[in-house]
C-alpha cells in the first residue's frame, strides 16, 4: 500500500497545525460558527444531533493493521468504544469533543492518516473496488490511480469551494463493485491497444434527484486523465448552480445542459488548456506510485485445500460462511474474505475497538497486512490462503464477526438515520434490524441468495436506497414515520434506479411486506440460481408490487 514520503507527511502535519489554530479561534470566539463551518467540514467535523462527528478518510478504503489499531484506540479513548464505517469507505466517530479533535488528528498523522476533505463542498475521498489487487476480473490494480487522484485533489486551490460536494469512484473490473455510475465522476480503467485509459462517466448521483451518469468520454489516455478531470471540475465550478443547494450537484448541470452540450463544454475547456496549464505528471511519479501497490508475494497453492475441505465438512456454519463471504482470488489457493459488519441485531457498519484490533491482528497474521473497507460497510481481507480460512473464521466468529451474509439480504447498507443525523426524517437502523430479524435463519437467507436492501432515513439517500434491489426510504408525514419501498435499483455495471412502488408503510408493516416480496420471488424464480433482481427484471414490478401490498 502507499506510504507517505516526507512531502505527504509534511502536508498532513501542517494541516493538523492549521486546524488546531482554526479550532482555537473558534473556541475563543474569534471565528464565528458560520465562517468556521466550511473549515471544519473540510476536516470532516460535523455538528450532529448530539455532538460533533469526526469523519476520517480511508483513501480508497485501504488500511494497514497499524492504522486500524489506531482507529480502535481513538474509538476507545475519544468515543464510546466503536466506530462506524461509511459508504465512502471512511470511518466516522459520533462522540468526539471538538477540543479533542486536533489531538485525534495528530494521532492519525502518526499513522499516515487524516480527515482532509471528508466533508464540505470539495473533492471527497476517492473510492474504488474493495477487491482491488485481488480480483480476477480487473485489468489492473486501480488503487495507484486512486492515490494519484487523492494527491491531485488534496488542497486543490481552485476546487475547494465548489457548488457542492464532489465524489469520484474508480473501477478496473468489468463487474462494477464501486458503483461508478452513481458518482459525480465514475472512472472505468480500460486497456486499448496496449494503452491504459479511462472511460469517463459524469453526473451520476443519488440524493433527492437520482441520476445515472452520462458517458462523457469512452477513452481518455492515462497521461491526460488529470487534465481531463481539471476540465470537468472547472466547468462545474464555473457553471454548476449555486442558487439552490438541492440543485447544485454536477448531475443537475449535466441534465440541465443536456449530455451533448455538457460534453461539448468539457471538451472545449479541455482543448483550450495551454501547455503551461497541463499537469504533466512525470512518468517516474506514476511509476513510483504504482510500485507501492505491487501485489504481495503469494506462492500459488493447490486449488483445493484439504485443511479447508476438512473444516467445512466438520462445521456447517463455517461451510456456509465460506459459501457467502469468499470471493475468488487472482492467485490459486487464495481467497478474498469479507468480514461482515452486519451481524443480526447490530447497527450495520459499526465495529468495536476490540473487533477492529482482532481484524488488524488477523490481517497481520494471515492477510499480508492488507485491510479494505467496502462501500457496503464491511471489512475485507483481500489475500488469505485457503488453508488459513478455518483459523480466520474461528477468530472472527468468536469476536461476533462471523456473519455469513455478504451481499445477502441481511447485509444491508443503512444510513445512521434519525437516531444520529440532523437531516434524517425517520429512523433507519431500527427498521433495518426489524427486517433483518425476518431473515435471521442462515439457511433461509442462503436460499434467498444475493439480494441488496438499502435503507435511507431521508431523501438525501446516504443509505443508497435508490440502488438497492429493494430500497427503503424513511419519510416524515405529519410527525409520523413512513417507509416507501423501491424496487429494481442496482449500482453495478447495469446501474438502474429503483422505483417507488406505492404508498409508504408504517415501520411495523415493513418487515412483513419485504417478507411477502421475497416469498413471491422464491415462488416465481426459475431456479434458485435466478437472483432476485433477475426475476424482478424478467417479471416486471407489477406483480412484486401486488405481493408487497397483499393483505398480511
Amino acid at each position: 500500500m502507499y506510504r507517505y514520503d516526507q512531502f505527504d507527511a509534511r502536508i498532513v502535519r501542517e494541516r493538523v497545525a492549521q486546524f488546531r489554530g482554526q479550532v482555537a479561534r473558534r473556541l475563543s470566539g474569534e471565528l464565528p460558527e458560520d465562517e468556521f463551518k466550511p473549515l471544519r467540514l473540510q476536516n470532516g467535523v460535523y455538528l450532529q444531533l448530539h455532538a460533533y462527528m469526526l469523519r476520517i478518510a480511508i483513501p480508497y478504503g485501504q488500511l494497514s493493521p497499524v492504522q486500524l489499531r489506531c482507529l480502535a484506540e481513538i474509538a476507545r479513548d475519544y468515543d464510546r468504544g466503536f466506530g462506524h464505517f461509511t459508504t465512502r469507505q471512511n470511518i466516522q466517530f459520533n462522540w468526539v469533543a471538538l477540543k479533542d479533535i486536533p489531538d485525534v488528528l495528530e494521532k492519525l498523522a502518526e499513522v499516515e492518516m487524516h480527515a482532509i476533505q471528508t466533508s464540505g463542498n470539495c473533492i471527497r475521498n476517492t473510492t474504488t473496488d474493495h477487491f482491488a489487487g485481488a480480483a480476477q476480473d480487473e485489468v489492473l490494480d486501480p488503487r495507484a490511480w486512486c492515490e494519484i487522484i487523492r494527491q491531485w485533489s488534496t488542497f486543490h486551490p481552485e476546487f475547494a469551494f465548489l457548488p457542492r460536494k464532489f465524489k469520484i469512484a474508480v473501477t478496473a473490473a468489468e463487474h462494477d463493485r464501486a458503483a461508478i455510475r452513481v458518482h459525480d465522476v465514475g472512472l472505468h480503467i480500460r486497456q486499448k491497444d496496449g494503452q491504459v485509459g479511462f472511460e469517463v462517466h459524469v453526473g451520476g448521483g443519488q440524493g433527492r434527484t437520482p441520476h445515472i451518469a452520462a458517458l462523457v468520454n469512452p477513452f481518455v489516455p492515462e497521461a491526460q486523465i488529470l487534465d481531463y478531470l481539471e476540465a470537468i471540475m472547472r466547468v462545474y465550478n464555473r457553471y454548476g448552480r449555486r442558487d439552490n443547494k438541492y440543485k447544485a450537484r454536477i448531475k443537475i448541470l449535466v441534465s440541465e445542459l443536456g449530455e451533448a452540450e455538457y460534453i461539448r463544454q468539457v471538451e472545449e475547456e479541455f482543448a483550450a488548456q495551454r501547455p503551461g496549464e497541463k499537469i504533466d505528471l512525470p512518468a517516474s511519479e506514476v511509476a513510483r506510485i504504482h510500485a507501492y501497490f505491487a501485489p504481495p508475494d503469494l506462492a500459488p497453492q493447490p486449488v483445493v485445500s484439504k485443511t479447508l475441505e476438512a473444516a467445512k465438512a466438520a462445521d456447517p456454519a463455517f461451510a456456509r460462511w465460506t459459501r457467502a463471504n469468499l470471493h475468488p482470488h487472482k492467485v490459486a489457493g487464495f481467497a478474498t474474505v469479507t468480514v461482515s459488519l452486519k451481524p443480526i441485531g447490530a447497527a450495520p457498519g459499526d465495529a468495536t475497538d476490540t473487533q477492529m484490533e482482532i481484524v488488524a491482528d488477523l490481517a497481520e497474521k494471515y492477510g499480508y497486512g492488507d485491510i479494505r473497507v467496502s462501500h457496503a460497510q464491511n471489512l475485507i481481507l483481500p489475500h488469505v490462503a485457503l488453508d488459513d480460512l478455518p483459523a480466520v473464521y474461528a477468530a472472527l466468529d468468536a469476536a461476533g464477526l462471523g456473519a455469513a451474509n455478504e451481499s445477502r439480504i441481511t447485509d444491508m447498507i443503512v444510513c445512521p438515520g434519525l437516531d444520529y443525523c440532523n437531516l434524517a426524517n425517520a429512523r433507519s437502523i431500527p427498521v433495518a434490524l426489524a427486517v433483518q430479524k425476518v431473515f435471521a435463519d442462515p439457511a433461509y437467507e442462503e436460499d434467498i441468495g444475493k439480494l441488496h436492501i438499502n435503507v435511507s432515513g431521508c431523501i438525501n439517500a446516504c443509505g443508497h436506497h435508490h440502488v438497492g434491489h429493494i430500497g427503503i426510504l424513511g419519510v416524515d408525514k405529519k410527525g409520523e414515520e413512513f417507509y416507501q419501498i423501491l424496487l429494481g435499483g442496482r449500482a453495478d455495471e447495469k446501474a438502474a434506479l429503483g422505483e417507488i412502488v406505492g404508498p409508504g408503510l408504517k415501520a411495523d408493516a415493513v418487515p412483513a411486506a419485504i417478507h411477502r416480496v421475497v416469498e413471491f420471488y422464491r415462488a416465481e424464480r426459475t431456479s434458485p440460481a435466478e437472483k432476485f433482481i433477475d426475476t424482478l427484471e424478467r417479471l416486471g414490478h407489477q406483480r412484486f408490487q401486488e405481493a408487497l401490498y397483499a393483505a398480511g
Binding site: R10, E14, E35, F155, P157, E158, A160, N237, I279
Partner: protein
C-alpha cells in the same frame, strides 16, 4: 477593511464605482466589466477606469483583448463559499497571461488566502484579517501537490527532480 499586498498592508487608493454611480474626476477607480465595455466602446462617455471588478459569473475569456491595458482586476467573492473567483484568477494568469494585480474583494477571510494566492490572486482586501493573519495564512503550507500559479512548486516535480 485591510488591504494586503506583497507582504505589506497598503492603503487602498482605488475606489469601486457601482453601475450608475458618477465616475470621479480624479483618483484611481474601478468599475464592473459591463460598464468598462460601455466606456471602452463609447456607449458611455467618461474616463477609463484603472481597474475592473469581475462578478463571479463574468467570463475572463471576454476580458482577454483588454488585459494589456488593465492595471487591476478585482475578483469579487460575494460569499466566501462561492469559489468561482478561483477559476477566474487561474484563467487570467495561466490561460490569458495576465500580469497585473488581481485583488480579492468581498467576503475575503483569512482561511481562503492560501488558495487565493496559489490561484494567482496577489492582493487581499479582507473582512478583518490584518497583515499578521494574512502572512500566517500564506505560510501555513510549505508544500502543495498540484501545479498552480504561485506558492510551493508541485510535489511531484520535486520528487522527480530530487
Amino acid at each position: 477593511m485591510p488591504l494586503v499586498k506583497g507582504g505589506a498592508e497598503i492603503a487602498n487608493d482605488c475606489t469601486f464605482v457601482p453601475d450608475g454611480g458618477a465616475l470621479p474626476d480624479s483618483g484611481r477607480f474601478s468599475v464592473s466589466f459591463g460598464r468598462y465595455l460601455g466606456l471602452k466602446q463609447g456607449r458611455e462617455n467618461g474616463p477609463l477606469p484603472d481597474g475592473i471588478r469581475l462578478a463571479p459569473a463574468d467570463d475572463p475569456a471576454q476580458l482577454e483583448p483588454f488585459l494589456p491595458e488593465i492595471a487591476l482586476i478585482e475578483v469579487d467573492f460575494p460569499r466566501y463559499t462561492d469559489g468561482r473567483g478561483f477559476s477566474q484568477a487561474q484563467l487570467l494568469r495561466r490561460r490569458y497571461g495576465y500580469c497585473g494585480e488581481i485583488r480579492a474583494v468581498g467576503h475575503v477571510l483569512r482561511d481562503q488566502i492560501f488558495y487565493m494566492h496559489r490561484s494567482g490572486i496577489d492582493a487581499y482586501e479582507t473582512r478583518r484579517a490584518g497583515l499578521p493573519e494574512v502572512l500566517e495564512a500564506l505560510a501555513e503550507f510549505t508544500e502543495a501537490y498540484q501545479p498552480a500559479v504561485s506558492g510551493p512548486a508541485a510535489i511531484f516535480r520535486k520528487r522527480d527532480g530530487a
